[in-house]
Amino acid sequence: MTEKPIKVLAENVHKAFGRNEVLRGIDMEIRVGEVACIVGPSGGGKSTFLRCINHLEKIDAGRLSVDGELIGYKQRGGKLYEMHDKEVAEQRRSIGMVFQRFNLFPHMTAAENVMSGPVVVRKDNKKQARERALDLLGQVGLGDRGDSYPMQLSGGQQQRVAIARALAMDPDLMLFDEPTSALDPELVGEVLDVMRRLAATGMTMVVVTHEMGFAREVGDVLAFIDQGVVAEIGEPREILAQPKSKRFQDFLGKVL
């Protein structure tokens, strides 16, 4: 395990919205191929941390890097330089993100949604992008829904299209922001199945979730983020069986 290179490295990451300090020194390392699950009470900073990883939020202090490269900043001669929007966009290409509320583009069909990244950002050939999109939709079990608009799909189907859309950019890191929290209970399974299969392909994943079952079964690392810090971290089965801190015990008592 330890010989695998580090994919995401967070050191003492701080983030405040106005006076509200959301992250107060997050430290975490995620290695290539690992599935890291992040749990914790709402408002604890887990989604904010996830959004910092692809620079949707700018960090105030600390260091955050992916593949050893700082996110959103360049370091030259001991000085930090803010990156130009274009360079940040470049960094985001290899980081896929899936949102709680899917955020599919409603004016595009499922296939057009999946094609949008490759065609607009990478200027791929439209015909090939479409073939690839249909192939990806097939992988998430929606091969026959390419021409449906998001409105015509169930929540679970929409989220699977969103996963295919993120995969279309060929990312090597996938961020999931509570991907099943907006779903009806009977639709959660189909999305988790897709994620489980994705994990099996060796994709590095950071998953903010409330699904303890998924964390226990698929996760390599489980982090409990509360009040802006990683309060407990470790091998999921171990720390779920023997939570050390009182806060984690209380949290588990509420969700399990």
Partner: protein, 311 residues
Amino acid sequence: MSADTREVAGGERGTPPIEAVPVRHPGRWVGAAIVAVFVAMAVHSLLTNPNWGWSLISNWIFSPPILKGVGVTILLTILAMVIGLVLGVVLAIMRLSPNPVLSSAAWVFVWAFRGTPVYVQLFLWANIIALYTTLSLGVPFGPELLTFQTKTLIPAFVAALLGLGLNEAAYMSEIVRAGILSVDEGQDEAATALGMGRMQTLRHIVLPQAMRVIVPPTGNETISMLKTTSLVIAIPLTTELFFQASAVGNRLFQPFPMAVMASIWYLGLTSILMVGQYYIERHYAKGAMRQLPPTPIEKMRRRLRIGGGDK
């Protein structure tokens, strides 16, 4: 009416449809009777009062000066709206830009052009000649290379276009801005996360969705513009419809029928615009509704098919 009930009842075979006495609405009958009396009075007056001058109207409505006026009015409307739309989008994007110089410049433009009457603006454009009699290209404080007379550079038609188009741009920019702001922030985030830049996100993701909010007031603006063109007399530009109709009316000592005739033209043109707007709205409803609303032709066909299958 009967078609709907039959469709629903047809779903469950064997269950007889409900046969109930419908609710009576005596108030509706009274209201309808009152309206019918007024309509009859209006029709009677239209047909029997010779002062409407229907024969005069029918003689002149397709005459060359009037048709030319219609042409100029349509051309002014289209070109002024194109200027307004393009400049309006640019101003809206400037206004939402993080660059403070761009956003305040857009704000000042809207403030100035929305805050003064379009009639006055038209007058000012026509008289820009009072500010600069000549425009010249050359080295500042040095020799002049090219000199234009403003009178020839800005003829009446161009002054009309500038006046109408720039005024429209101020209104359109606010409409476009409202449209952009109406799009959910999550859309922006999803596009950003895919690696799209600000302009790519705007063009491919935000603006197409904003169109649903932008199109109805833009249709409104176009109809309004068609009528506002009658104000270019402030320049004066005399070739547009209303001035031509008035000129004919004054010549014949029959101004009233000619104004009615101009109104008929305006009504006809706005009706065409409304049909166009319906189809544009339908186009941009893609993805926002589970099923697109049927076109009027589809509706009629469906009614005929159901009615035909009955007998």
